[in-house]
Amino acid sequence: MERGVHDRGGLPTEERIDRREHALEDWEVLTDALAGALARRGLVNVDELRRGIESIPPVEYERASYYERWLLSIESILSEKGVLAAGELDRRAAG
């Protein structure tokens, strides 16, 4: 049975659980708040956010940090809806 890259239950893994505490960075709190505001406005609901995360190519999904996945998803869903133009976020982030 095929499964999405996000569907992790029961997967065999040798990776140990890193139990260190990590305070959220400012940009992570910002990303979370952006997602919440977009959800409240009906622009990116939580199921769309998850679907966007699940669509990240597997290699990139596993490499990306948790909130990086959120950013990738938000960008993808907003591009789909024409709110962001293709490459617009890349250009602004680089500028």
Binding site: E2, N45, E48, R51
Partner: protein
């Protein structure tokens, strides 16, 4: 088809190519209804911009470790409890 607390069920062994919230490790496995929750908007359609209506009944279903991972080396027993939508349930044996 609706289910009652205590009833045996089997999770549908369906490949589903879009967003869905039934984990792979449950598909095709036998479980038992523990709670009947309220009905909720369907995440499978909400994920694509739909309003997710009509609401779908949701159940808390429990599974024995030995049914989920039959060959696994056991370090003691446990049950797994998962919220599953009605349309993923089939009558159990």
């Amino acid at each position: 088809m609706s289910y009652r607390v205590g009833e045996p069920v089997t999770i549908a062994d369906r490949a589903h190519r879009g967003h869905h919230r039934t984990p792979a490790y449950l598909k095709g496995k036998p479980g038992r209804v523990e709670r009947v929750h309220a009905a909720f908007r369907n995440p499978e359609t909400r994920a694509y911009g739909d309003d997710g209506l009509p609401r779908m009944p949701l159940y808390l279903v429990s599974f024995a470790r030995s049914d989920l991972w039959p060959g696994a080396r056991a370090s003691g027993d446990h049950r797994v409890y998962v919220d599953v939508f009605e349309h993923w349930l089939e009558e159990g044996k």
